[in-house]
C-alpha cells in the first residue's frame, strides 16, 4: 500500500515547524509515524504537507526541574518507561507506556505522538477499497457516521494508553506556537468530538509533558485489557491514582469515549473514603455512566462496560496491597 503523495518538510526547530503549520492549513506533524502513516496508507488522512519532526533537536528528555517531571514530546515511549524515576515513582505512566502496541512501537513512538493520536473506528481504520462499500464517513471527509447512522457526527473512539495515566497524574502539557507558549491541563487538549479530536490551534505543537511532583506521592497503576499481550489497542484501559494521605483517588479511562476521560462521579464518591468493600461495590454502578460508549470497534458495549468496572476494581485491589 503506497502512501499518498505529499510535500515533505523537515524543519530544524519547533518554531520553523510551527511556521509551516501556519502556512499550510492541511499540513500534519509527523513524529514516530506509527499512527499517521498507517492512516495515510488507508487514505483516511491525506495531508498535502508533512512536517517531519525528525530533525528537531532537544525534545527527547526526561528530567526533573522545578519540582516537576518534564518529558520532551519527542521522547520515545521506551525511554519514558525505562527512566528509573518514572518506573519507580510514576508507575501508571511506566506501565501505560510499556503497554503501547509492541516493543517496536515503543522504540519508534513518542510520548507526544501517542497523546495526539487519531481517534479510531472500525469504519475509519480500513483501506480505501474496503471503505468503497459505503459512502465516505464523516470523519474521513464525507457526511455520514456509520456507527451512529447519523450525518455530521463522529463517534470514533480515543484509544491511546498513555493519556489516562497522565490524566490521573494530573499532567499538563506545553503547547508551542506562533502566539507563544502555553501550559494547560492535559484534558483540555481533547475536544471530545470525533472528527477533530484535538483542540490545538493551527500552528501549535505539543512540545512537553509536565507532571507535578505530587503525582509521585501516591499509588498509581494502569490496567489494560486487550486480547493479546502485545500489538493491540486497549479494549478498555483504566488508570488509577490514590493517596492514603489526602484520601483522594483519580480514575482515568481510554477506549470508552471520543477522548480519554476522568471518572469524575466515581472520584467524587471515593473522596475521603477508605479503599475497601464499600467503594469496590459501588464501582460498577458509577462507571457505567461515565462514558458515552459507542459501537466503533468490533468489541461489544456490554464487554466494555463490564471491563471498566473490573479494571478499576482490580486497580483498587492492587492499591490495597493485593494483586
Amino acid at each position: 500500500m503506497r502512501l499518498p503523495k505529499f510535500d515533505y518538510r523537515s524543519p530544524n526547530s519547533i518554531q520553523e515547524a510551527s511556521a509551516i503549520l501556519l502556512e499550510e492549513p492541511s499540513a500534519r506533524v509527523l513524529a514516530g509515524g506509527t499512527d499517521l502513516l498507517v492512516n495515510m496508507k488507508h487514505k483516511v488522512e491525506t495531508p498535502a504537507v508533512i512536517v517531519s519532526l525528525a530533525a528537531v533537536p532537544d525534545r527527547n528528555y526526561v528530567k526533573k526541574a522545578d519540582g516537576a517531571v518534564r518529558i520532551g514530546a519527542l521522547t520515545p515511549l521506551k525511554r519514558v518507561y525505562t527512566d528509573s524515576f518514572v518506573a519507580q515513582k510514576l508507575p501508571a505512566l511506566a506501565i501505560a507506556a510499556s503497554s503501547v502496541g509492541s516493543y517496536h512501537h515503543q522504540t519508534m513512538g513518542t510520548l507526544g505522538g501517542n497523546l495526539c493520536q487519531q481517534t479510531r473506528c472500525k469504519f475509519f481504520n480500513q483501506s480505501k477499497w474496503w471503505r468503497n462499500s459505503r459512502p465516505i464517513c464523516f470523519k474521513a471527509g464525507g457526511e455520514m457516521c456509520h456507527v451512529a447512522k447519523k450525518e455530521h457526527v463522529c463517534y470514533s473512539t480515543y484509544c491511546g494508553d498513555v493519556a489516562p495515566a497522565l490524566l490521573v497524574l494530573k499532567a499538563e502539557v506545553v503547547l508551542t506556537g506562533k502566539a507563544g507558549v502555553r501550559q494547560v491541563p492535559l484534558e483540555s487538549i481533547y475536544s471530545g468530538e470525533g472528527k477533530t479530536p484535538l483542540t490545538l490551534q493551527q500552528g501549535e505543537l505539543l512540545t512537553e509533558i509536565v507532571i507535578p511532583e505530587q503525582a509521585a506521592d501516591g499509588f498509581s497503576t494502569y490496567r489494560k485489557f486487550a486480547n493479546r499481550g502485545s500489538i493491540d489497542f486497549p479494549i478498555v484501559g483504566a488508570a488509577f491514582w490514590t493517596s492514603k494521605k489526602t484520601g483522594e483517588s483519580r480514575i482515568g479511562f481510554t477506549a470508552v469515549d471520543r477522548k480519554p476521560l476522568r471518572a469524575l462521579q466515581l472520584e467524587d464518591f471515593m473522596k475521603g473514603k477508605q479503599l475497601g468493600s464499600e467503594v469496590i461495590e459501588a464501582v460498577d454502578g458509577l462507571v457505567a455512566k461515565e462514558a458515552r460508549l459507542m459501537l466503533s470497534s468490533i468489541d461489544s458495549l456490554s464487554q466494555k462496560r463490564q471491563l471498566m468496572g473490573q479494571l478499576v476494581k482490580k486497580a483498587i485491589g492492587e492499591a490495597m496491597g493485593g494483586r
Binding site: M1, S127, W129, S133, F225, R228, S230, D232, I298, L307
Partner: protein, 763 residues
C-alpha cells in the same frame, strides 16, 4: 530408533535454513525483472450484484498503465482445483458474489500508478439480494448465488454403514448436541504473490507463484488461458506459509500471466494484507449436529451427523473438504454404526477453502466436546472413554480403512500422564482445569486417485546428489525431509544432497502440499528413486567386492558387505568405478509412488481405505480462567503424537508447536467477523492471532509405531496436531469453570456471560 539411522530420525537443520536466516531466500515478491510491470485487482464492494457496465477508459489512459482487463475479455473457462467443483472465473463474469470478488485488473510501470488506475475504473452494479447464513441460503426462496445450483447447495454427501437407529435403541445414553465452528483465516506471513514472464516466439508462459500446488496451477492456467500445459511453466519460489490458503489459482496468477502475454513484459501481482484476509480463502464455518449413542461403559455404539458448511461465494475444495470432514469421523474411535449427511452451501461471503485440517477440525471439535459431555453424564472419566473407544491397528475397520499402525490408545495414556490428569482433573481450584482431545489425520488422501508423486535422484561423478521432486515446500521442511530420506537410502552425508523442487518445467509431477501427503508420497518416491540408484551402483561394484549385490550396504559414505563394515569402498570411489566403466553419468534413479487406490469417490458408496496411513494423537491442555475478565490462558499443552517415525524430530516438533498455536487461536482468539458480507477485521491488528506472549508451555511425547507404508516408517505430522488443541482447551475450560462451550471461539466476553449466568442460577 535413532541409532539405527544416520540421517533419518535426526534433528537436522532445514536444508535452506542459512538462506532464510540471512534474508537471501527468495520469495515471489523478491523477484525483480527488468521492465517489470506491477498489477492490481479491482474488487467488488457489494456482496451480490450484477455487473451492468465497466468503464475502464480513464484507467487505460492514465500514463504508465500498460494494460487493463475485465471479466468480459477473458476466456469463458471456469477453473477450480477439484474438477467437478469448477465454478470460478479469474475475473467475475456477469455478476459478483461477495465483497472482494475480482472484477478487473490493471498493470502499470509502478505500483503507485496501478493503485491510482484501479480507482479510476468505474463499475455500474445492480445490487441483488444477498444471503449470509448457510442455513438460510439452503432454503427455498433464498437468493440463488450460482445459476443452476439449487438451494445454493453445491455439494452434498451422505455416507452410511451399519444401522444407527438400531444402535441408538440399544444405547444406554443417546445425546444430540449442536456445535458451531467459526471462520478462521490462515494468515500466512507472506501475502499471495505471482510474477509472470512470456516468451512470444515460443509462446511460453513462466509463472513464479507463492503456491502450494504448482502442477494444479499449471493445469488451471493452461485451461483458462487456453494454451497447452506444455507451454506453461510454474515455478514455486520460497513460500512464506500457506496452511492451505495457497491451494487454488487466484486472480493474481491468471492476471499476471494474462498481462505478461499481452505486454511481453514481466508482470508482478502482490496482494495487500486485507486482500489476503478477504479475498483468498478461509476455514469453512460449520454447523454440526451430532447424535451419539453410548453404552453404559462409554463404548460408542453409533454416531449420526448433520453438517452445514458455510462455503462462501465459491467452491474451492468443497467436495474434498466435506469428504474429509465425514470420513475422519471414523477415526480415532471405533464407530460401528455411522450416518453422515453434509451440505456445502454457498453464501455471499469470503470463500471457504482448505485450511490445515481441511474440514476435520470442525468435526473433531464437535465429537471431542460431546465425548466429554457424555462421559460426564455417564459418570465416566473422559480419558478412559477415549482409551476404551480407540481403534486398534490391524483390526477390521467399520469404514474399510486399512490401519497398520495406531498409537492412539497409548497417546491417550501418555497425554493424561504428562498433563497430570489423575491429580488435576476435577481437582484444581475453581478457574483452573485440564482437558483433552483426540485426533487422527490421513497422510494424503487415497480417495483422490491418480495422485502420485515422482522423483528423480541424480548422483554425479563428484559424489554430489541432486534430487528432483515436484514436492512443494511451504516452510514445513518437505525438501529437508526428502533430502534426509535420500541421504539415508544412499548412505551419504546429508549436506551433499541438493534438492531441486516444484518446477513444472524440470521436476517430476507432484500434486502439491495438501492433505499432509508429502512425506509419505513424495518421500516414498524419493526413497525408491534413491534405492534404484543404489541398486545400479551395487550391480556395478558387486564383482569388485566379491559379493552379491543383495548383500551390500551403503552407510556413512561407504559401501560394504553386510556384517563386514571394515572391508569397504568409499561411495565416491564406487562412483568413479561406475564412471570408468563408461556407464552414463550422472547415475539416475526414477520412481513414482501412489497410494493403493480405486477410482475416486467410490468411498462414498462402498467401504475402503482412505489414506496410505494415519497419524494419531491426543492433546491435553491446562487452562487458567481469569474470573474477572473472562480471559482464558492456556498454561500448558501436551501432545502425545504417533507419526510413525519422525524423519526429522526437530521439524516434527515445529509442526506440532505451530499447530498448537493455530488450534489455540481457533479456540480462543480468532474469528473472521463478517457484517452483511463485509469482513470487519481484515488486519493483523484486528484479527488477533496469538503472539509470543500467548504461548503456553508445550511438551511433546513421541509414540513411535514404525509404519510399513511410510518411508522409514513415517506418517503425517503437521495437520493432525491442529485438530485436537481446540477441543482440549474447551474441555479444560469446562473442568475449570463448569461451563460447556459448544461454539468457537470462546471469547472473554462469552466466558463472563456464562459465569454471570451460573451465578444467577446459584450453581
Amino acid at each position: 530408533m535413532e541409532k539405527e539411522f544416520t540421517v533419518v530420525g535426526h534433528r537436522v537443520p532445514m536444508i535452506d535454513a542459512a538462506a532464510k536466516v540471512t534474508g537471501s531466500a527468495q520469495f515471489t515478491d523478491d523477484l525483480v525483472f527488468p521492465g517489470m510491470l506491477y498489477g492490481k485487482v479491482l474488487r467488488s464492494p457489494l456482496p451480490h450484484a450484477k455487473i451492468l457496465n465497466i468503464d475502464v477508459s480513464k484507467a487505460a489512459s492514465l500514463p504508465g498503465v500498460k494494460g487493463v482487463v475485465t471479466g468480459a475479455e477473458i476466456p469463458d473457462r471456469r477453473y477450480g482445483i477439484v474438477p467437478k467443483a469448477r465454478d470460478e472465473y479469474a475475473l467475475a463474469k456477469g455478476k459478483v458474489r461477495y465483497i472482494g470478488d475480482e472484477v478487473a485488473a490493471v498493470c502499470a510501470i509502478d505500483p503507485e500508478i496501478a493503485e491510482e488506475a484501479i480507482d479510476l475504473i468505474k463499475v455500474d452494479y445492480e445490487e441483488l439480494p444477498a444471503v449470509f447464513d448457510p442455513r438460510e441460503a439452503i432454503k427455498e426462496g433464498a437468493p440463488i448465488i450460482h445459476e443452476g445450483v439449487a438451494n445454493n447447495t453445491s455439494f452434498a454427501i451422505r455416507k452410511e454403514f451399519g444401522d444407527v437407529a438400531k444402535a441408538f435403541a440399544e444405547s444406554a445414553l443417546v445425546s444430540e448436541d449442536t456445535f458451531y465452528s467459526q471462520a478462521v483465516n490462515h494468515a500466512p506471513m507472506e501475502p499471495h504473490a505471482a510474477v509472470a514472464q512470456y516468451d512470444p516466439v515460443r509462446g511460453q508462459v513462466v509463472l513464479w507463484s507463492s503456491t502450494q500446488i504448482p502442477f494444479f496451477l499449471r493445469r488451471n492456467l493452461s485451461a483458462t488461458l487456453q494454451i497447452p500445459e506444455s507451454k506453461v511453466r510454474v515455478i514455486k519460489p520460497k513460500v512464506g506459509g500457506g496452511f492451505g490458503q495457497k491451494i487454488d489459482m487466484f486472480a493474481k496468477d491468471f492476471c499476471a500471466a494474462w498481462f505478461a502475454m499481452k505486454t511481453g513484459r514481466a508482470v508482478k501481482f502482490v496482494y495487500e494484507r486485507d486482500e489476503v484476509f478477504i479475498a483468498t480463502r478461509q476455514r469453512h464455518p460449520m454447523y454440526l449436529t451430532v447424535k451419539t449413542g453410548m453404552a453404559k461403559d462409554g463404548k460408542i455404539l453409533a454416531q449420526q451427523f448433520l453438517a452445514h458448511a458455510d462455503g462462501g461465494a465459491y467452491n474451492s475444495t468443497a467436495p474434498t473438504m466435506m469428504a474429509l470432514s465425514c470420513f475422519f469421523l471414523m477415526v480415532p474411535y471405533h464407530v460401528p454404526n455411522l450416518l453422515y449427511e453434509g451440505y456445502h452451501v454457498y453464501t455471499n461471503k469470503p470463500v471457504g477453502g482448505a485450511m490445515r485440517g481441511h474440514g476435520i477440525p470442525q468435526a473433531r471439535f464437535a465429537v471431542e466436546r460431546q465425548i466429554d459431555m457424555m462421559a460426564g453424564r455417564l459418570n465416566l472419566d473422559p480419558a478412559e472413554v477415549r482409551f476404551k473407544n480407540s481403534i486398534k491397528a490391524g483390526e477390521p475397520h467399520p469404514g474399510g480403512f486399512v490401519i497398520k499402525t495406531c498409537g492412539f490408545a497409548d497417546s491417550v495414556q501418555e497425554a493424561a500422564k504428562a498433563i497430570g490428569w489423575q491429580e488435576k482433573r476435577g481437582k484444581l481450584p475453581f478457574g483452573r482445569g485440564v482437558g483433552m482431545g483426540g485426533a487422527s489425520f490421513p497422510s494424503g488422501v487415497t480417495n483422490m486417485s491418480h495422485i502420485s508423486s515422482g522423483a528423480v535422484v541424480q548422483v554425479g561423478q563428484d559424489g554430489g546428489v541432486n534430487v528432483l521432486t515436484g514436492a512443494a515446500d511451504i516452510g514445513q521442511g518437505a525438501e529437508t525431509v526428502i533430502a534426509q530420506i535420500v541421504a539415508e537410502e544412499l548412505g551419504v552425508p546429508f549436506d551433499i544432497v541438493r534438492v531441486t523442487a516444484a518446477d513444472t518445467g524440470t521436476t517430476p509431477l507432484d500434486p502439491g502440499t495438501f492433505g499432509s501427503g508429502v512425506t509419505v508420497r513424495a518421500g516414498n518416491a524419493a526413497r525408491i528413486a534413491a534405492e534404484s540408484v543404489r541398486k545400479k551402483l551395487f550391480e556395478c561394484i558387486a564383482d569388485e567386492m566379491e559379493a552379491n549385490p543383495e548383500d551390500l550396504i551403503a552407510a556413512d559414505g561407504k559401501i560394504f558387505v553386510k556384517g563386514s563394515p571394515d572391508i569397504n569402498v568409499l561411495f565416491t570411489k564406487a562412483l568413479k568405478m561406475y564412471q570408468y566403466r563408461d556407464l552414463p553419468m550422472p547415475l539416475v534413479g526414477r520412481a513414482s509412488w501412489m497410494a493403493d487406490t480405486k477410482e475416486p469417490t467410490t468411498l462414498f458408496n462402498e467401504p475402503g481405505n482412505f489414506s496410505p496411513n494415519y497419524s494419531f494423537m491426543t492433546q491435553a491442555a491446562e487452562v487458567e480462567v481469569d474470573l474477572d475478565t473472562g480471559k482464558v490462558k492456556v498454561v500448558k499443552m501436551v501432545t502425545a503424537h504417533d507419526c510413525g517415525r519422525p524423519i526429522n524430530p526437530m521439524l516434527v516438533e515445529g509442526q506440532l508447536e505451530g499447530s498448537i498455536a493455530g488450534g489455540m487461536g481457533q479456540a480462543l482468539y480468532e474469528d473472521v467477523i463478517v457484517d452483511k458480507g463485509q469482513v470487519m477485521n481484515p488486519s493483523f491488528l484486528d484479527y488477533g492471532f496469538p503472539t509470543a506472549m500467548e504461548m503456553p508451555e508445550m511438551e511433546s511425547i513421541d509414540i513411535e509405531t514404525d509404519d510399513p507404508v511410510g518411508p522409514f516408517g513415517a506418517k503425517e505430522a503437521g495437520e493432525g496436531t491442529q485438530l485436537s488443541p481446540a477441543p482440549a482447551i474447551v474441555n479444560a475450560i469446562y473442568d475449570a469453570i463448569g461451563v460447556e462451550f459448544n461454539e468457537l471461539p470462546v471469547t472473554p466476553e462469552k466466558v463472563l456471560k456464562a459465569l454471570a449466568e451460573k451465578k444467577k442460577q446459584g450453581v
